[in-house]
Subunit: 298 residues, 4 copies
Amino acid sequence: MARLGAHGHGKAEVRLVRIFRGGAAEGGAADGGAADELRDWTVSSRLSGDFSETYLTGDNTGVLTTDAQKNAVYALAAEHGDRQPEQLALRLAGHFAGQPQVSRARVEIAEHGWRRVGDRAHSFAGEPGFTRTATVVTDRQQGRLVLAGLRDLTLLNTTRSEFAGFARDRYTTLPETADRVLATSVTARWSYREPGTHDWAGCFDRARTALVEAFADTYSHSLQQTLYAMGERVLRALPEADQVRLVLPNRHHFLVDLQPFGLANENEVYLAADRPYGVIEGAVLADDAVPGGQLPWD
Amino acid sequence: MARLGAHGHGKAEVRLVRIFRGGAAEGGAADGGAADELRDWTVSSRLSGDFSETYLTGDNTGVLTTDAQKNAVYALAAEHGDRQPEQLALRLAGHFAGQPQVSRARVEIAEHGWRRVGDRAHSFAGEPGFTRTATVVTDRQQGRLVLAGLRDLTLLNTTRSEFAGFARDRYTTLPETADRVLATSVTARWSYREPGTHDWAGCFDRARTALVEAFADTYSHSLQQTLYAMGERVLRALPEADQVRLVLPNRHHFLVDLQPFGLANENEVYLAADRPYGVIEGAVLADDAVPGGQLPWD
Amino acid sequence: MARLGAHGHGKAEVRLVRIFRGGAAEGGAADGGAADELRDWTVSSRLSGDFSETYLTGDNTGVLTTDAQKNAVYALAAEHGDRQPEQLALRLAGHFAGQPQVSRARVEIAEHGWRRVGDRAHSFAGEPGFTRTATVVTDRQQGRLVLAGLRDLTLLNTTRSEFAGFARDRYTTLPETADRVLATSVTARWSYREPGTHDWAGCFDRARTALVEAFADTYSHSLQQTLYAMGERVLRALPEADQVRLVLPNRHHFLVDLQPFGLANENEVYLAADRPYGVIEGAVLADDAVPGGQLPWD
Amino acid sequence: MARLGAHGHGKAEVRLVRIFRGGAAEGGAADGGAADELRDWTVSSRLSGDFSETYLTGDNTGVLTTDAQKNAVYALAAEHGDRQPEQLALRLAGHFAGQPQVSRARVEIAEHGWRRVGDRAHSFAGEPGFTRTATVVTDRQQGRLVLAGLRDLTLLNTTRSEFAGFARDRYTTLPETADRVLATSVTARWSYREPGTHDWAGCFDRARTALVEAFADTYSHSLQQTLYAMGERVLRALPEADQVRLVLPNRHHFLVDLQPFGLANENEVYLAADRPYGVIEGAVLADDAVPGGQLPWD
């Protein structure tokens, strides 16, 4: 009467902090000792394959436990000392996809930022201005997909943003505006053309800078226009990538009506609203990107 | 050099509380007055279509603003008085997809539960045991998809769960167990064969009951086995549906080692862990379900 | 130049699930077996005393580690099988305050609700309609304070609430209303006159019922009035208590203006707002309560 | 039978973004225009006084509505252009305490950080490395209390932290360690001796720097010792303050056992745990601080 469709299992949110003792690339520390380097990662894995037996009969013979997936995260991080999340994600996805019962492995790493305290060798302060992400999908048949990105990067322009000329239906009451605050929290991901060979940190920094600067420099007639400018700027700064996907919530800032108090509000006092919020989404592709030629991103 | 790919925009998390004055189906209230009924919904919409102009040039002529989408939620809820989230989602998605510039509309509603206080006509207490969800995708070319479901339904069996016989690789250290606590937080969605004609509340209740009872009644050799049993039970209880998709986090409960304190722990004292957690996913399809014949669920 | 003031240390959010095998008070289970009972608790402890050495010199001789506090939670829960959070809190606070270096111990337990699935012996569903709380402060000199309470109990009246006649200053623009939705999320705590001897579950149920019914039955001219009625009702229902403290956020529900769409809104369609929210606080004391005669509640 | 005890009401979490057009103190912007400055604040107020009538009878004559409190936040921020949260908190608390029915007003402001994007005049990126806080309590009889502080400042030392020599009771199983990771998320507040006359931004920066550097520079035998060093350093750096209160969760980092995989773990691979966590609290007072001479901090 029923049959099993797509299925899989994985371990979510393995918390890994990896310290590279005396391993900082940058110059010597204040106290003469070699400076430590730190990575703070949350790692999630998901395996696909034919695991139907455990679903249908409870026979677990083919199941690579989620506990073993967790162990592999810690063990491979220890053994190989990868410093970039893309490297560890590639290693883990390759490891999992090498198991006979696994046809596809997906590994996602979120990197929580820390910066060194002054020139101290051993001290760090959290720097949560954004979360860096890296995702690798390794499929036995179809090869690999490497995504990098970020989320929770909050940006705001105090002016140089209009919104006018939009469609007006029965339910449209929004007044047009020639000057508004534009604010968002960027989620961006981009796919690499050739997985496996890049200066991951340098690529990430170029992309992040492109996102921030395109947002800042675009005179905006819509958040959509800003989104496209951000995606295009990433592709220009990062020829290693062939596609960028962006999700931009529109964090509305409403001008507060101060007239009841006999005060003017010359675009100075705003209410920052929580919900609801607009969501603008879009993909920007390099001209030579192969449409549909990719493994699924999610 | 670059081009626009898939794109869209919508309004997320419109908070709507709809009161049906004196409109309770059930019998009279304690004080003789007619009892009110209450719906507490969070509504999100997303529109697809050719909105490329606003992305590429900032020309907003074709943009149906997210503010208008929010207004439509309130106005259509007021005008038509739908009491089931599937009804309002169908109405809204149909409305949006009827706009010339829209090729596909997706509307998702989360229902936050309340129950009447005793036999009071006007008083309610929050009942957040789960969140009911309803999603409608209306596509001009491809028709409609109606999904219903729930999330955050927490279930726990104190026994009648084993986990053994699984694969053992280099990273497998997990001991086998013949008796464990099995706990999860259910996210389930099912698709209706024919959108538009059902007793939505009755269908939902049948599905929810099937999920809970299948979880409780299945002697489990793996959470995967339990998942399949839950999906199969829904299809049996709800022939109106042709597919069920389940995501079941494995909320690990670890037996606490009390030996250092000279105490035994005969499966009585557990540490409920937060992270990491296993995630088991799977779809269960009716035998006659048309594979690939559906609009995308997300 | 500087000196140490008030100080202390503790362990926060120890997650404990305690299963009483075959220990349900209620009648037999569907399958003939004895039904299990379940407690799901989050326990936090805080110890005061003269721990100045570790602060000033790093000499830890007197420090009862937070790890040992965690262990004590699991061990005492295992050994004594307390079924009410007040019982375990009393036991733990007494244990900690019995250590020579501790002058005062505070233990707080949050109970997460579960209900049995039908008549199954071993299956439970989460019932998060509120979180029950129990707090015990044991002081070597000043004796004990036992608090019980709840939080996150959401209540809503669809009518029978006015708000008018309030003060009007330069910044008051709020219109008066003779009919509004009144909604809140109750945080309540009450203190027991004599700690140590009560039917804790029965007391809790009486107090919770009093809170809900007083909210439902009070025709409200202000949330303050409702608060007082709730507190007074608890004292009447629970003579074992001599003080009730309530914190009631005012979860604003704004009537949506539908006139732009040619629709009336006869108190049927509301926007449920997140922030900001009003907060109403108050203590209600039994006539014979000894003011200031208590240990601090926080 | 019952009577009203301590009570009050306020508005929580008013979201205010204040833009100072062309008002940046720092030099000209890249594009020649004058640079904007930005403040992003969440403001909460709480009023005490004799509001017993509304509690006891629903007579709201003396109630200064929470809506009017919200309006005052926006209006006073607009009218006076305060740039430091302490200034606005002082102004608001003074305003509220000037109302005849109010005996004490408490205003708390949380400042969400933003930094300018490069040398752009109008663009900002969120910088949530910590949340700055300012609290003012103004009492008609007892004068004023001004607190400043921060929360969510995450700090981590990779070494130079021991924990040994602690008390061992029946429930102590923790091994001693001569080298551990020490991590915390700082909540700190300090009180100013003379409210009303300081370089608030400069004071805040001195205190924050003191906290970070004392954490980094202290060779730690316990988090308590580090706490005291942090408080003492603030008092030294900020003679304007006479008391510092610190709450430091101990964010445990557990060394992962890699022996089952044939790997050593030389203090390189850690599991960052969520719950439970230790909490270390303490106040550090200037030698000449007047004990008990202050208004309540909470």
